[in-house]
Subunit: 354 residues, 2 copies
Amino acid sequence: MSIKIQPEAIASLRGFEMPERLGFGTVMAPVMFRARYQDGRWSDGELIPYGPLALDPAAKVLHYAQSCFEGLKAYRCGSGVGLFRPERNAARMAHSAQRLCMPPVPETLFMDAVRVVVAHCAGLVPGNSGESLYIRPFLMGTQPDLSVTASRAYEFYVIASPSEAYHPGNMRLWVEREDSRAAVGGTGDAKVGGNYAASLLSISQLKARGYDQSLWLNPGNRRTVDELSGMNFFAVMDGALHTPALNGSILEGVTRESLLTLARDLGIEVHEREIDIDDLLKLVASGTCSEAFACGTAAIVSPISELGDSEQRYRLAQAPGPVATQLRQALLDIQEGRAEDRFGWMQMVQVARF
Amino acid sequence: MSIKIQPEAIASLRGFEMPERLGFGTVMAPVMFRARYQDGRWSDGELIPYGPLALDPAAKVLHYAQSCFEGLKAYRCGSGVGLFRPERNAARMAHSAQRLCMPPVPETLFMDAVRVVVAHCAGLVPGNSGESLYIRPFLMGTQPDLSVTASRAYEFYVIASPSEAYHPGNMRLWVEREDSRAAVGGTGDAKVGGNYAASLLSISQLKARGYDQSLWLNPGNRRTVDELSGMNFFAVMDGALHTPALNGSILEGVTRESLLTLARDLGIEVHEREIDIDDLLKLVASGTCSEAFACGTAAIVSPISELGDSEQRYRLAQAPGPVATQLRQALLDIQEGRAEDRFGWMQMVQVARF
């Protein structure tokens, strides 16, 4: 497909000044990609200035949450700019779209859209290790119609945000035994807004108690660990790495899969299995579980220092522990071009000149 | 609070022509109400022309589905225009907002907003029995910030749509045994987008098989009936009325509660209880369950003619049956002003002159 670069987009880029403090997801790049879907067809894409979207007040996305998104990053990789396994994000977004009855964004459209944004925002990729240009593709139903049916019109955007890592580390997790983020037979393995909306109350309540994130249990059995919101969970027990097996209510993280591959490569024993929360807490208390961490595109590898369950607090012996530190470094070394890309994970982007 | 009536809103109303065909939720009234929330305070409200909303591409509602809504109706009631139990919608919207960590819309703001829209759109309330002006209040998080936290800024709108009933009747339901609309500990008793998004795939698949709506089972036990999407379920067995008891994953319908009150008043035996789906299907097959219907603000009372479960089809003996017909008429007689409002359900609206 052809992508039209609006002259106003180039002007926005030329006029952009990078703020000193980045944080996560609050500084937005001054351009964005847009394509529209109507009558079974995708329009050509455009790179346009970042700015307000005009949405009909009856648009499906605003009432029935018919939208899905992805998160990936562009890194300063050696002397260039690289994307990390973006084809996996394209595939997952297609899966999420299908779950909510939306037309999947074709992989070529997804990749072209991400590339054109990164190519033009290469100058906005921050340079410190662990920082990056966070890329947020999203798809939403825009048809103005209050009936509970799938939209017939969609818009696909890619926005970008120069960002620090989402969590600096030493996270304190709250074992959430009441609320659920998604149902069995629900949308837990899709990256859709409803999962996140359902998690906000728990997150807000635990922050008031001094915790950082909810540890979600499986909504079917209420006793095995699923994930955090937007992050997967790992624990180290007797030197081996354990993570919940995919079960339909866990999001299949790109970082999760990459860490499993790196761990096996580094000779670390790996187990994807059901992790009973009560067993886990006992193993933390006894010291057999010596470290735990969360991972995700936004969070990278983020050590967990404590698990809170009702009145009990369980401190991890090592935070950060050696396994988290080793895996984080191995991952960043590939993403930032210091190590050979032995798994073919990086896709370098041709930087646009303007 | 004071509500500013924009002159452009009045001009939109004067220029509006009602289309001949209404359908449900597709013809939009030419004005809407808006109020904004920021820094812990609500702005004054405004009546403005209906038109596109300007939303930042990073607004929380578009990514994390932080939004909730309500549905109520204004009826031609005698010689005036009346609202049906709007205070219950205000209370439910406050509950939904709280579940998604949003500031509840104060009851006075909710009521003033609905009233000002109805007062100005009184001429758009259609006159045939079963038709009405459908009112859709909604609240959404608008802060541009990609972190998974509650928004600090919100917008509250009330839009309206002159509409026919949502379902004409004789619905065929599909017993959904795989997908869920909401989790135990999720958002099933809140009127939030994620529940509807999760239901779209099932609805789309069953339509391809000739059905109209999914009959959702409880996500915890997978064997008792919860509701339809946006409608509650009723069955008549040996002349008595049965409906699933509220259990945290069922939306507490205003029409549901009103029908229970009307039924008791009419001397019909009423049971709010767990309804096992396999028991229900057997009772339909034997004829003991002679009729079933769905109800909701949009659907009013909508008879069910068939339940489909895997390869089996279970036909209801009477569709519409006498109980559904009697209750529908009793409800509409109050809403449309033909019967005395013995329960104090109607609130008449002072029509605006312009």
